[in-house]
Amino acid sequence: MWQWFHKWGSAKWFYQASAAWSRVFGYFALLFLTLGLVWGFVFAPADYQMNHNYRIMYLHVPSAMLAQITYLLIAILGLVNLVWKIKITPILARAVLPFGASCVLLALLSGAFWGRPTWGTYWIWDARLTSTLFLFFLYMGLWACYSLLPASMGRNSAYKAAAIVAIVGSVNIPIIKFSVEWWNTLHQPASIRLTQRPAMPASMYLPLFASIIGFYCLMVYLMLKRARLLLLEDELHKAWVKEVEPKLVGGS
């Protein structure tokens, strides 16, 4: 167990091992996304009101889910970095951040474009939309931390500071959601709130599952792909880089 943990501290080991994993997750992402989206957009039956608009769900639901999961993941990685000081975790957190931010954007846009035919407007101050909007700003703040703080406190300190920001943010996310819901019930007429959808037949939710799994795999794939390069960038002067990537570094 301890040895397994120790392995994660080794940048070289991670760099070499992650090549294969990232490929595997890449293929899985391709498989499940194709399956889920083609099934969802082409073969799944129309809604009971003969409505095709709901197909946006196959992108909206996974992206909204992953938007939150990714932030949580970043916070957990930050916690692991602060407690066990495993070198690779802040790099993983940094690497997955753009994917999370993209998911928020996609969730917001797909929410708006789903809402337009449903509610008659692109944007309503619905609790979910509003809290997703603030999640977007949390991502942007974290991104700014990763890109600006190294200049003022050095890279390693900046990673730790960003981890603290992510943890503070993740504690706040449920509070923000709760407060926005409270605010929403005060202000919004109940008629245009997202209510529970009618129960779906299997032919509708199975593609949704496939799509969600596809998004998860995509997250891991993109995270590993970026993390490998960020690790290389951070450790460019180390001996193991020359050993592993002689073509990149050694060639003069």
Partner: protein, 218 residues
């Protein structure tokens, strides 16, 4: 050692009246200019006063807050504190004194807002309580951002980006309290949530702030 730090911040609180006046001048002007943009036949002033005040408080307290630790950093006082009793006590003292610095003028401004926005005077005590809690939360969150951006040029934008989303719950519950009071509805629920958030922030964030200050290298 704690006494020395406390005495320093307490003396500085009174020796720098400009620090106390600057945010409050902005706040007052924002509030008094705002009705100029309104068609007063369509909007009712009493229902606008409180939300406008809250937003103005958010903005004016954030302004200049990035300087909270900057001078102590520049003069090396922060180094001496890090070498002696550690940062946690320093952060707490700094936060309490800074909160006093912004709270005292707010006490003066609130009756003015009530007067200019034609709100009932009976709402004053609850509004003052809500304003105290909200400003305390704003101070501690903004201090967190100030610690993070210490040593960065042009930190103001990053401060706003980091702080404002985190302050959404504070804004919501403070606004809800005021709204309930003005409509003569039960306001206790909202203000209890506000108090809970402020307490949570004050119990956790000073740790976060001192660990971020600990990370500085210069």
């Amino acid at each position: 050692m704690i006494n020395a730090m406390l005495r320093r911040e307490w003396l500085l609180l009174w020796r720098r009246p400009q620090d106390m006046l600057q945010p409050i001048t902005l706040l007052l002007l924002l509030i008094l200019v705002f009705p100029m943009a309104l068609d007063l036949t369509q909007f009712s002033l009493p229902s606008l006063g409180w939300p406008v005040l809250l937003n103005a408080v958010l903005l004016s307290l954030l302004l200049g807050m990035e300087q909270l630790f900057a001078e102590d950093q520049r003069t090396g006082y922060l180094d001496q504190v890090r070498m002696s009793y550690g940062l946690y006590a320093y952060v707490l003292i700094k936060l309490v004194c800074h909160w006093l610095r912004v709270w005292l003028p707010l006490v003066v401004v609130l009756p003015l807002v009530i007067f200019f926005y034609q709100m009932p005077l009976s709402a004053l005590p609850v509004l003052l309580l809500a304003l105290s809690l909200a400003s305390a939360a704003v101070v501690v969150f903004a201090a967190f951002a100030a610690a993070l951006t210490l040593g960065l040029a042009r930190a103001g934008m990053l401060m706003a980006l980091l702080v404002l989303p985190l302050l959404v719950p504070v804004l919501v519950f403070a606004a809800a309290t005021g709204q309930a009071v003005l409509m003569v509805e039960p306001w206790q629920g909202a203000i209890l949530w506000l108090a809970a958030i402020t307490c949570l922030a004050w119990s956790l964030l000073p740790w976060a702030i001192s660990s971020v200050l600990e990370l500085a290298n210069h």
